[in-house]
Structure formats: C-alpha cells, structure tokens
Amino acid sequence: MIPPQFDYHAPGTLDEALGLLGSLDDPKVMSGGQSLLPMLKLRLASPANIVDIGRIPGLDTLAEEDGFLRIGALVTETDLEQSEVVAERYPILLDTAKVIADPLVRNRATICGNVAHGDPANDHPATMLALGAQVVATGPDGARTIDVGEFFFGLFMTALAEDEILTEIRIPAPAARSGGAYVKLERKVGDYAVAGSAVQLALAGDGTVASAGIGLTNLGIAPIRATAAEDALTGQAPDDDAIAAAAQAAADATEPIADRRGSVEYKKNMARVLTARAIRKALARAGG
C-alpha cells in the first residue's frame, strides 16, 4: 500500500510550523505518524501537505511542574512507560500506554497525537477525561488551554482549529489518597478497544469518594465522560452498591455501535463491567 503524493515539511521551530499551517494548502500536522500514515496508505486521507513537528525542540517535556504533569507533543507512549514519575504517581497513564497498539508502534506513537486524532477508539482520551486534563492548543495568536471535557466532538473531530497544534497536555497532580486505573477489553493485542473504562478517584478522610473522573473508550461517536457515573460515586462510601450504581450509570451514558466487536447490548454491558473493575482497581491504588 502506497500513500498518495503530498509535500512534506519539517519545521525547526514552533513558529515556523504555525506559519506553515497558516500558509499551506490543506496541511496536516504529524508527530509520530502512527495514526496518520496508515490512513495515508489506505488512501483514506490525502492531505496536500504534511507538517512534521517531530524535529521541533522543546516539545518533549515529561515532568511534573507547578501542580501539573506536563506531557509535550513529542512524548511517546514508550517514554510514558519508562517514566518513574508516571509509574509512581499516574499508574492510570501507565495502564493506558501499555494497551495501546503494540510495543513497536508505541516507540513512535505520541500521547498528544493519540488525543489530537480525536478517534473515540483511541485510549488516551478516556484517561484524560478521567484525569480532568487540559489540552494546550498553540495557534497563530499564542497558546490557549482547553479543558479536555470540551475537546472531543465526534469521530476525528476536536476543538483544535486547523491552524493550531496540540503542543501539550497538562494533568493535574493527584491529590492525596487518590488512584486511577484504565481497563480495556480488546480482541487481541494491538486491537482497538471493544470498550475501555478509565477511572480516577480521590478519597476523603472518612473513606468516601471525594472526587471521581470516569472516561469511556469506543462506546460512542466521541470519547465519553460519564458524569452521571462520577456523580453516583462522589460523596459515597465506595461499597458494592455504589460501585454497581456508578458502573450502571457509565453503561447508560454510552451509545455504542454494533460491529464485529459485539452488539450494542454487549458493549453497554462491557462499559458496566469494565467500569466496575476500573473503580475497584483505582480504589485499591488510592488505598481505599
């Protein structure tokens, strides 16, 4: 399979990249290229110009600063997997990275690319929704911060404007006694999720749930934030009943499509089962 013709640009600075986005006909930003190149080879996408941001210095930050974990546009899934701060403080991110595609793809694939692609079947969107992350979009007029809850619109559709680059994701540092987990059901390694559930919880001093974030993968035309499920948990003692209620609320929030991965009924139930499992895992990690 051979990609269609396009012109390739490798700007050396962010400003140069933004300038290209503003001036070129039908440009498309590429970082790791692990989502875009397969689409090109299938000729499902045929942009006239590709702007490769992979050589821009300064976009590879992966560090906790000012109360946020900052993930730069060029940080790869493998970087995430090998990061000590992620392993210690953001296990949900490690869970997520480890189930994306396969290890070789993860050597090139970026977290920001995974989010910017706007594919409801991608895994990071759900996790970012659960974590309440912020997306930094840099455009000709500078950077703006978008709450990830307002970022996803539909299949491949995000709040990112055509002349903007997703330069960073910021994840609020976890509160004390908090924990998160991502649980994905896939048909085999490398597959898109049949369903996935990301849960990030913080516990109050009395053991009740102080806050909850729940995101769902591949269960609608966009990544889903299951707010009713979050509400069902927040302020509650996380006992079996509360978990079951939250898991059911998560299932109710989904609008899956029947395909080779299963029926609508199956997928809704998987939203429930996986959410319950993710909650229990998150609780265990929170020390609950």
Binding site: G33, L104, V105, G190
Partner: protein, 159 residues
C-alpha cells in the same frame, strides 16, 4: 512533487539519497539500498516484518517516511552478524528452532535485539509482550521465546 536530500547511516555506513516526500522507509531500505532482509508483511502496522532499529529503537519501517529518518542511525538484520559470526540471538534462533519460513525472522531479531539491550534478562511474559507487535504464522512463538532466553543466557555468561 517535492523531493528531499537525506542522509542515513545504515549498519554503520552512511548513505545519501534523494527521496520523494511519500517514500516509505522500508522501500528506501529494500529498493534503494538493496537491503532485502527487511520484509513487508501487512501494510497496516500490525505484523512487524519490517522492523528496523532507528537510533537504537525498534520501529515498523512501513509506517515511517524515509524523510523522517533523515540523520538517523538505522540497523537492519544484515548488520547483526559480524565477521566473527552470528549474534547470540541469531544463534539462539537456530539452536531453539525459532524460525520456519524465515519471513518474520528479521523483524523478530531486531525487536529481540532491542529488548535484550534494554532488559538483559527478560521473563517469558516480558518476551511475549515485547514481540507482540511481530506476527509469526509458523512457529507458535514458543521457540522464539526460547531463542531470546538462549541469547539472554549466553550474553549473561560473559558477565
């Protein structure tokens, strides 16, 4: 159509090339540099037959543009065996019968080489996970796992 002047170092030797924007790295390696040990198996980034090392990291060269590799150090299967014979991993594949038709083997070797570099003593589960982006249709993987274990053991002897 724009072309680009690039330089890549492949198995230690520098090559300059003029490439189209869309040229895939695997075609640069196979067609332009005539290193046909790197294979194409699936086109959709699933099988890993095209795995090469790019700056020491295993990547699927059918999903990298040649121009993206400008300035990179590339390693292919042809660069593994030196004058003193095959690497412990190559030897392990023969000793443990880790290959049959041989088509996925170069990709497996590149992935395995990188694994042993970062994790000299991997567990069975770690090996299976590491090669999960490389499909083999012949061996059932059991002997590939053993081949990597053989190499780890042999390389460990030198310590």
């Amino acid at each position: 159509m724009a072309t680009h002047q690039i330089t890549v170092t492949v198995n230690g030797a520098a090559h300059a090339a003029t490439v189209d924007s869309r040229l895939l790295l695997v075609h640069l390696i196979r067609d332009d540099l005539a290193l046909t040990g790197t294979h194409i198996g699936c086109d959709t980034t699933h099988c890993g037959a095209c795995t090469v090392l790019m700056d020491g990291v295993p990547v699927k060269s059918c999903t990298v543009l040649a121009v993206q590799a400008d300035g990179a150090e590339l390693g292919t299967v042809e660069g593994l065996a030196g004058a003193d014979g095959m690497t412990p991993l190559q030897e392990g594949f023969q000793e443990e019968h880790g290959l049959q038709c041989g088509f996925c083997t170069p990709g497996m070797l590149m992935t395995g080489t990188a694994l042993l570099e970062s994790n000299p003593n991997p567990s069975e589960a770690e090996i299976r996970e590491a090669i999960s982006g490389n499909l083999c249709r012949c061996t059932g993987y059991v002997n590939i796992v053993k081949a990597v274990e053989y190499a780890a053991g042999k390389m460990g002897e030198g310590d």
